[in-house]
Assembly symmetry: C2
Homo-oligomer: 155 residues x 2
């Protein structure tokens, strides 16, 4: 619960200080993780009530929603290996961060929760195959973003 | 909002890791500040909705309430002078902490909110005159706690 509340506190400050002013200035905002991550990690994986997580997310975002979300999906083992490699490069420790140290079943629940959101909100969330290499994936994202139909449905 | 959520996160962890295990072990728990402080500071002084602050407090405490609360009340100027003296002794800076740096009107709203809680819950909250010196105040608290009628009404 404390972990959930800390993420919500960070989100409230982030939305108020950065995202809302940027939107009011007419800027395009790109986020790496947003409220879906809290639903997937604290709701899906930690099994706190989804209803509570949603209410707290709304409190922090004032109901603000991304127009378009890309879910970079891949098997848990591959995702974890990549995350731990990044962590080792950055921090120099092999164990991974607080989340990455969790067991495989935890990460399976995270993935399942993300995929469930994508099924519930197919117009907002586009699932991409993240087993591809980074260049192919980037190309695909750019194509999706340039598709006028997708941007229209998102707007 | 972020400040409120940080206090609630700290409270959730405090209740779960310290207070609930102590109560389950049959111990008497003494707290210096608890959820009333969040109502007074973030509700009364920062003017976030009381209903929201109460709901978040309940989330963190699972509805747990102190049986007895002493409100050490004094004029804002005196309270602030004492707080800043303590802060200067401890930290070596004269400005006071995040809260103590707020304007007088802020602290008047804190005091008013505490007194309002005391009016709403006279059986739980005992208001003491904190302009007295520390020995007189301590004596009075001990007397109140030894009064079987008060402990009974609190239990």
């Amino acid at each position: 619960m404390a972990e959930l509340l800390l993420y919500i506190a960070a989100r409230a400050q982030h939305v108020h200080e950065l995202i809302e002013p940027a939107l009011h200035a007419g800027k395009l905002v790109l986020c790496d993780r947003f409220f879906d991550a809290t639903l997937a990690y604290q709701g899906g994986a930690r099994q706190l009530p989804f209803k509570l997580v949603k209410e707290l997310n709304d409190l922090a975002t004032h109901g603000l929603k991304p127009r378009l979300t890309f879910l970079l999906d891949c098997p848990v083992e591959l995702g974890l290996r990549r995350a731990k490699e990044r962590y080792a490069e950055k921090v120099g420790a092999k164990a991974g961060d607080r989340m990455e140290q969790e067991e495989i079943a935890f990460h399976e629940r995270v993935r399942e929760a993300y995929l469930a959101i994508a099924r519930q909100e197919p117009n907002r969330m586009i699932v991409l195959d993240a087993t591809q290499n980074i260049d192919a994936l980037q190309e695909q994202i750019l194509q999706e973003m340039n598709d006028p139909l997708i941007l229209c449905s998102a707007l």
